[in-house]
Symmetry: C2
Subunit: 395 residues, 2 copies
C-alpha cells in the first residue's frame, strides 16, 4: 500500500495499474460515486441551513475525508479514539467522539485536547459526567461533553425527560464541560418509506431539541444540538433548533441503504473485487475467492423485502450482472447463484467481478485500504487504479 498524494488534491498521477492487476480480493472505492454522494448531502445540508459533521467511521480514511471539504479539514465525527488520533494527525481540530466515553480512555482525550484538538466526548450517566468533570479539573482544561439522548430506543442515551438529564448537565456545567446534546436515529435504518424516514427525522430533531430546551430551562447553556443518521439526514425537511447534522454511511452507501430507498444501487461506491476459482454446475454455483473475510459477515439485507445475500455482483467495470447474487460465504470462498429465473452467466476461472456490500462500514473494515477508480472516466481496459488509500484500524 503506497502513500501517494491524495486524489482530492488533484495530482492525477495514477498507479499505472488496473483492477485486473492486484491479487484478489481487494476493496475498491469509486471516487466519482463517492464525490456525488458527498455533494448530494452537502447540498441538502446547505438547503436546510445546518452545519454538516460527517461521521468518518465508514471509510476511516483521511483520503476519503479529503473529498468532503476540498482539502480543508472540516468538523468530523469518529467512533474510536484511534480515528480521533489519526484525524488529529491529519490536521483535523474539531472532532466529536460519538460513543459513550469509558472513563479509562480519558487520558487519551486529554492528550488530544492538549494538542489543540476540540474533542467532544459523549455520555449518558452521572458516573461518566463525574469522571469527565474530575479529569477536566485535574487537567486544568475543559473537556467538552455532550449528553447522549435516546430518540428511538436504538441503544444508548437518556430520554429527554429522564431525571438524570439535568443532574448530568449541572455536573458538566460546574466543570465548564457542558457542550450540548446529541442523538442518533439508529432505528431509521429500518424505515422503509420516505414518509417513515421523514417522521424519524422529525422525531430525532424534536427529541434533541426537547432535551436541549429542558437543560436551558434549568439555566444550563447548550451550544450544540447534534442529530443525524444517513436515512434521516436525507429525509429531514426542517432542522430548526438543530446546530449540526451527522451522517457517515452516505459517503459509500450500500445495499441496506438502497434497500430502504435512501440511494440507488448505482450510487454504491464501495465494492470488493473477487476472482472466479471454480464452478459447481450440479448446484448452480460459481465459486470465488471472496468470502466473509473480504465481505464481512454482515447480512443487513436479510431483514429487508429483498434479501441480497452477501452482495450483488457486477463485472469489473461495475455493471451489474442481472440476477447474480453472492449467497454464501466461507472464510475465503464466496458462492454466487442466479435468482429470479436468471441464467447463471458463463464466467470462466480467472474472471474478476465486483461484489457490492450489504453494509459498507462492515465490509470496509475487513480491508487495510482502498484501490481507487473513477467511473466517470471510460477506458478500453479494466478501470485504472488511480491511487491506494489507507484506512485507520484498531481502537
Amino acid at each position: 500500500m503506497n502513500t501517494a498524494p491524495r486524489l482530492g488534491t488533484g495530482t492525477g498521477v495514477g498507479t499505472g495499474r488496473t483492477l485486473a492487476d492486484p491479487d484478489t480480493p481487494f476493496a475498491v472505492v469509486d471516487a466519482h460515486r463517492t464525490r456525488r454522494n458527498i455533494e448530494r448531502l452537502a447540498a441538502r445540508a446547505e438547503r436546510l441551513d445546518v452545519a454538516l459533521r460527517p461521521h468518518v467511521k465508514t471509510a476511516k480514511s483521511l483520503d476519503v475525508a479529503a473529498l468532503l471539504h476540498h482539502g480543508v479539514p472540516c468538523p468530523v465525527t469518529v467512533s474510536t479514539l484511534a480515528e480521533a488520533e489519526a484525524f488529529a494527525d491529519g490536521g483535523y481540530t474539531d472532532i466529536t467522539y460519538a460513543v459513550g466515553v469509558d472513563p479509562h480512555k480519558l487520558p487519551r482525550v486529554i492528550a488530544l485536547l492538549r494538542r489543540g484538538v476540540t474533542l467532544r466526548v459523549l455520555l449518558d450517566s452521572v458516573e461518566q459526567a463525574e469522571a469527565v468533570a474530575q479529569a477536566a479539573r485535574e487537567a486544568g482544561l475543559p473537556v467538552p461533553a455532550q449528553i447522549e439522548i435516546d430518540c428511538d430506543g436504538h441503544r444508548g442515551g437518556l430520554k429527554p425527560d429522564a431525571p438524570a438529564l439535568v443532574r448530568i448537565g449541572r455536573i458538566l456545567h460546574a466543570a465548564d464541560c457542558l457542550d450540548g446534546v446529541l442523538t442518533h436515529a439508529g432505528e431509521s435504518y429500518f424505515a422503509y418509506t420516505a414518509e417513515e424516514r421523514r417522521l424519524a427525522a422529525e422525531n430525532e430533531r424534536d427529541t434533541a431539541v426537547a432535551a436541549a430546551e429542558r437543560l436551558r430551562a434549568a439555566g444550563l447553556p447548550v451550544a450544540t444540538v447534534s442529530v443525524g443518521s444517513t436515512p434521516t439526514a436525507h429525509a429531514a425537511e426542517d432542522l430548526t433548533g438543530v446546530t449540526e447534522l451527522r451522517a457517515g454511511n452516505y459517503v459509500f452507501f450500500d445495499l441496506v441503504m438502497a434497500g430502504i430507498g435512501v440511494c440507488r444501487v448505482e450510487d454504491i461506491a464501495l465494492s470488493v473485487v473477487v476472482t472466479v476459482i471454480g464452478h459447481r454446475p450440479e448446484y448452480g454455483w460459481i465459486v470465488t475467492d471472496g468470502g466473509w473475510m473480504a465481505m464481512s459477515r454482515d447480512r443487513g439485507t436479510a431483514v429487508q423485502a429483498q434479501d441480497q445475500g452477501y452482495g450483488l455482483v457486477a463485472d469489473l467495470d461495475g455493471r451489474l450482472l442481472p440476477g447474480l447474487v453472492m449467497t454464501a460465504a466461507s472464510q475465503e470462498h464466496g458462492t454466487l447463484t442466479a435468482r429470479d429465473g436468471a441464467r447463471l452467466p458463463d464466467l470462466p476461472v480467472g474472471t474478476r467481478l465486483r461484489v457490492l456490500p450489504n453494509h459498507a462500514c462492515a465490509t470496509a473494515a475487513q480491508h487495510h485500504g482502498y484501490h481507487v477508480v473513477d467511473s466517470a472516466r471510460t477506458t478500453d481496459t479494466a478501470p485504472e487504479i488511480e491511487d491506494v488509500w489507507k484506512r485507520v484500524t484498531g481502537w
Copy 2:
C-alpha cells in the same frame, strides 16, 4: 503491539500489565486453554496414527502456531498467500494453501517454491490444472497440487466419480505436479450429535480415499490423502487410507463448536475484553464499548438450538456471568441482556468483561493481535498480560 519473545519459548518475562490496563476493546488468548486444546487433538491424531496439519487461518499467528509443535515448525494449512508468506518468513517449509488457486496468484506460489517452501495448491478444474502445469513448466519446477474433492456439498471440489477427476490428474501428473487429494467436511459444522460427526468423518475419509483410489486405478500416483475439519477431526475413529488430518478452529474453539458439542464453553480460548459504558434499565440493557467491530458480525449460533447472540459474557477472570448474553451490536456498541430469568447483574460504568465469540476465526480477524493470559496461573489482580502476539492480515 510489541514483538516480545514467544510464550511458547518459555521466557516468562511478562508485560507488567493486566487485563485492566489496555483501552478496550481488545482480543485475549488464554494460552492455557489453547495448549490444552492443541494437546487434545495432537493426542487423538497420534492415537489414529495420522499426521496432523493444523490450519492456521483461525489464529493467523506465528506465536499461536509455536504452541502446536514446541517451537519446531510443523506442516501447516493456510487460507491465503499472505499467511503462506508470513509462515515461510517464520521458518515453515511445508504449507498447504487450501483455497482453490486463482491462476493470477501463481507467481507468488512459484516465488515461495523457489524459496524452498513446499507449497501445495488446491484446484478442482481443468483450467486451473492447465494453468498450474504451464506455470510449473515455465518456472522449471514442479508446483505440487492437490485435487479438491467434495464430500458433502459444502462448497468447492469434485465428486470422486466426476469425469474431470482423472483428466485433471493426468494434466498435473504430466507436469510432475500431482500431489494428491484433499477434502473438507464443511457441513460437519451442522452435525449436532457425536454419531452424526462420526458418520461425517467416515464419509470424509471414504470420499477422499475413493478419489485417491480412482486416480491410482488410472495409473496416477497419489501421495497425499488429506481430510479434516474441527468436528470430524475430533470424531474420526479410523483414518485408514488417509495420510493427514487438518483442523483449525480447535486451537481456540468457540460457541458454535460448543453448541454442537465438540468442546465445552470452558475450552474457548479467545475472548474480547469490553467495558460497560452505560445502562438502559428501562429496556434491561447494559451497554458496552464492544460492538461488531470487535466481535465481528458472525452469528453462527443463530441456527443452533441455543442462540448465543453475539456471545456469552464472563468477568475479567473468565468466569461466566450466568444468563448474561451480548444480544445486539452496533459498530462500537454492544448490548448485554439477561435471559432464562437471570437477574441483570450490577455492573457499574467502567466494569470490564470478556465476551466469548460465536466464531473464533471471524472474531480474531477483527483484531491486529492478541493479549495473552494464562488461566492456569491465579493472581490477586486482574489476569496478567504475559505477551502480545501479532496476527497476519490481508491477502
